[in-house]
């Protein structure tokens, strides 16, 4: 499926989501409460069949934290970026997609560790890299006077 067709299909299927052509790939921003259903849909829909979660990461913005999913379909070889914003930064929560793509379980642990997003229904959410005395370093307001030297 080409990018245009993909955008068309996604727009018609999800009228309230924001679908646009990004710099390389189609991007869709999904509301956080509809994320899990949407993800399940794009994996099971045979014309989309996004079965390979390439990358999952988070970006800290001033008012929310965005989780970005890079998805590819091994059958159709099309690529898409899904974004979901948390409601706020302080109690950032999002539904897990670990039940849809098992690899997400580990990426979500990493996101929780570094950005502090808690994933609902996650089977085993733990910090991978840092211990509990740390904050969440990839947040923009993270300051560490001991370990970080700023020029």
């Amino acid at each position: 499926m080409t990018n245009e067709q993909l955008i068309e299909q996604l727009t018609s299927a999800n009228p309230d989501a924001v679908v646009k052509q990004g710099s390389q790939y189609p991007e869709i921003t999904v509301a956080h409460d509809k994320l899990h259903a949407f993800m399940q849909n794009i994996k099971s829909d045979s014309s989309l069949a996004f079965d390979y979660l390439v990358c999952e990461t988070g970006v800290d913005y001033p008012t929310f934290i965005q989780v970005v999913y890079h998805l590819e379909s091994t059958a159709h070889r099309h690529f898409m970026v899904v974004k979901a914003n948390t409601e706020n930064r302080e109690t950032a929560t999002l539904d897990t997609v670990a039940d849809i793509w098992p690899t997400a379980e580990f990426h979500e642990c990493e996101i929780y560790d570094l950005l502090g997003i808690r994933f609902n229904n996650h089977p085993n959410l733990r910090r991978y890299f840092l211990d509990d005395t740390w904050g969440h370093p990839l947040r923009k307001d993270f300051h560490d006077d001991i370990h970080v030297v700023e020029r």
Binding site: L53, H70, V81, P102, H107, N120, R126
Partner: protein, 377 residues
């Protein structure tokens, strides 16, 4: 909603016959500081839980304070065995964002370096996993041959491991006048050495017994767990970025994506061995046809990416390496994420090592070709 806990708790009760063994953080077969919390019954593995982060270096955070050429040199330090692929990924991402077309010569040089780096990485993997399986002599043969590639690297770019050869817009130096000669000499030499690798281990009955049928990863699981690279391809998951999303000079050349079917340790081994032959074929196609021209385009002194998000995938020696850059138009990126192949690959261990023995766990880890800084970043 599941009960959430800040601290990690061993969720399953340890049964009467079971005991916990920490394999790592300091252990000969983890190739770095990886800790596998293993639940054993006798020698049988019941559960493996990887604990990572012992050499987390915070590269993603550091990049937020650095300019784009400076980020490139940090990527050397993640997967140090595919340093050039990592460099290239960042450079391609920056070039794509700036819509810069690099000269053909750069594309050829980068691709040759990619394949040399892949060869060097697979050689080290070969010898290190031979060592894991107890064949200590293999370790020295692999390092001996890898030395030739490192010499080629050193001749052209002055460094052996942390190359920092690609820069946004091209490569740092032009290739050394001897480069083509020494690469060809190496290929001729290594074509004679590689059959010895097979004689020493691949065909060996002990080795085959150790790896055949051990740690089978099905194709479905490979896709679901995002297992890429030779490890994923051994399971039949066609995931070669060079083939599906060609970059640099890969569109110009003919090569096969080496695939396996069984997904066991032996197949992972075989796919990597085949990839070494294929890498030599790729280099031979390119080495005589490097076009004349500049080795870099002139970039601005301060590289500023346009606002937006950019994702670039390359095939590193271990699998799909991705760079995701969020730019807010300044000279530093807003956020950089490195999608490292080792991270996704590592966590399948629990899935496939269950029910095998400790010795098999070592064999599985060996054929997964883990590089810990790649996982920890």
């Amino acid at each position: 909603m599941a009960e959430f806990s800040e601290k990690y708790i061993v969720t399953d009760e340890i049964k009467a016959d079971e005991y916990l063994v920490n394999i790592g953080p300091q252990h000969p077969s983890t190739h770095g500081v990886l800790r596998l919390l293993t639940r054993l019954e006798g020698e049988i593995v019941h559960n493996v839980e990887p604990h990572i982060g012992y050499i987390h270096s915070g590269i993603e955070k550091m990049t937020e304070a650095l300019s784009y050429p400076q980020i490139v040199h940090l990527t050397d330090r993640m997967d140090y065995l595919s340093a050039h692929m990592n460099n290239e990924a960042v450079c391609l991402c920056v070039e794509n964002a700036l819509q810069v077309e690099v000269p053909e010569r750069v594309k050829y040089i980068r691709t040759i370096f990619d394949e040399l780096q892949r060869l060097a990485s697979h050689q080290l993997w070969w010898c290190a996993s031979g060592m894991d399986l107890g064949a200590l002599t293999a370790f020295f043969y692999g390092l001996r041959d890898r030395e030739d590639i490192l010499d080629i690297f050193e001749e052209t770019c002055g460094a052996r491991l942390t190359l920092n050869y690609s820069v946004p817009g091209g490569v740092m130096f032009d290739i050394h006048p001897n480069f083509q000669k020494s690469v060809k000499a190496f290929i001729t030499k290594f074509r004679k050495k590689l059959p010895e690798y097979d004689k020493l281990l691949t065909d060996n009955i002990i080795f085959q017994n150790r790896t055949k049928g051990v740690g089978v990863l099905s194709k479905e699981d490979a896709i679901a767990f995002g297992v890429t690279g030779p490890t994923g391809r051994a399971s039949g998951f066609s995931c070669d970025v060079r083939k599906h999303h060609p970059y640099s000079a890969y569109p110009y050349i003919k090569f096969d994506e080496k695939m396996g079917t069984d997904g066991d340790s032996f197949m992972r081994w075989k796919v990597r061995m085949d990839e070494m032959w294929e890498s030599m074929n790729i280099i031979e196609q390119l080495i005589d046809n490097i076009p004349e021209g500049d080795f870099a385009v002139k970039m601005k002194g301060v590289i500023k990416l346009p606002e937006g998000e950019f994702y670039q995938r390359v095939e590193s020696a271990r699998g799909e390496f991705g760079v995701y850059i969020v730019s807010d138009g300044k000279k530093n990126p807003y956020r950089v994420k490195f999608r490292s192949p080792g991270f996704s690959n590592l966590f399948t261990i629990n899935h496939i090592a269950k029910g095998w023995k400790i010795a098999d766990l070592v064999a599985i880890m060996a054929t997964f070709d883990l590089v810990i800084p790649d996982i920890d970043r």
